[in-house]
């Protein structure tokens, strides 16, 4: 009887794994979607999220000093809540884009770029380290506010920038014109998938 229950449980587990695998969205490995997604992640990081000006503004202690000296308690509270929200949004976006890039490198980079194993390994470690650092930073900010870990903010931003540079080399073959073409193709395939 116990054996029967055991085999039935294994069977159910195998069947559910098969079911979830079959229902999973097809990953865009080796397709134009993957390339476009990676290029967009890279430009979002480099042009949108990582520029020093933005990082400085989000985590600038000077604004807090100003609010402390100028505004009553409810405004100070509003300021801390708002900056915490923005800081978490920034960390979330950086982590998501890093994950997008990492997905491309895990699945598709080898189809397009000839990275040596050492670079691939170093990239893999960088991605993993960055995602972990983002998690740690998010935890620190959630618990202790936007100014909880200024060094970690700098470390995450610098590490993300370095990773982007290495990743950029593997996407360098994709110029603007090709990207436009691929974006259209990716949009077309997305439409046809419905």
């Amino acid at each position: 009887m116990i054996q029967l229950i055991f085999f039935l449980t294994v069977g159910v587990l195998l069947f559910s794994s098969l079911f979830f695998l079959a229902r999973r969205k097809p990953r865009p490995e080796g397709t134009s979607d993957a390339l476009v997604e990676a290029r967009q992640a890279l430009s979002s990081l480099q042009a949108g999220l990582l520029p020093e000006k933005l990082v400085k503004r989000v985590f600038d202690r000077g604004d807090w000093e100003y609010v402390k000296s100028e505004a009553p308690k409810p405004v100070r509270q509003l300021f801390l809540e708002e900056r915490k929200r923005i800081a978490i949004l920034w960390i979330d976006q950086v982590r998501n884009q890093i994950k997008n890039l990492s997905r491309f490198h895990r699945g598709s980079a080898r189809h397009y770029a000839k990275l040596n194993p050492r670079t691939e390994m170093s990239l893999a470690f960088s991605f993993f380290g960055l995602v972990c650092s983002c998690r740690a930073l998010q935890l620190a900010v959630s618990m202790a506010g936007p100014y909880a870990a200024p060094r970690l903010v700098g470390a995450v931003a610098n590490a993300a920038e370095r990773t982007c540079k290495v990743s950029e080399q593997s996407l360098a073959f994709l110029n603007a014109a090709q990207l436009g073409m691929l974006t259209n193709r990716a949009a077309g395939s997305a439409l046809s998938r419905g």
């Binding site: 503004r57 000077g62 009553p72 409810p74 405004v75 708002e82 900056r83 949004l89």
Partner: protein, 144 residues
């Protein structure tokens, strides 16, 4: 090349008269058609072409936005005070209207990074709260 000339023309003739980034942002956003996202400026279009004028206005809009995002909170509050006094409306009415309508949300250039846009909206919200707190600590006759 034409776009660069048009941008320089816009900066020299029009934007040089508008020193604050906040005023520039609002002015340039008002040049944009909400239905199409295209910018219109008759004078600039007559000297160049409509397409070139549109691109020059979009460039200047992005530039004004970037300047404003880079401002510290203190600078943003100062810019808002300057802007309020240039509108000739009562500061209280202005703060109330901006808190309700949040007009700055439609002043953002297209394709702005969402985090950057959210940061600016949040800074506006805090700046308005600071101005409101200042107003309520002042006697009513000094406010208008």
């Amino acid at each position: 090349m034409d776009v660069e000339q048009a941008t320089a023309d816009l900066r020299n003739r029009t934007l040089s008269e508008i020193p604050r980034s906040l005023d520039r942002l609002i002015y340039l956003a008002s040049m944009r058609d909400y239905n199409t996202g295209l910018y219109y400026h008759d004078g600039l279009a007559s000297r160049f072409t409509q397409d070139v004028a549109c691109e020059a206005l979009a460039d200047c809009h992005r530039e004004a936005f970037a300047h404003l995002v880079a401002c510290s909170l203190r600078e943003l509050v100062d810019q808002m005070e300057g802007y309020i006094s240039s509108t000739h409306t009562s500061a209280r009415d202005f703060v109330t209207a901006w808190k309700k309508l949040e007009p700055y949300r439609v002043a953002v250039p297209v394709e702005t990074d969402p985090v950057t846009a959210q940061l600016l909206f949040s800074s506006f919200k805090i700046a308005l709260a600071i101005l409101e707190a200042r107003l309520s600590s002042r006697p009513a006759q000094q406010v208008a």
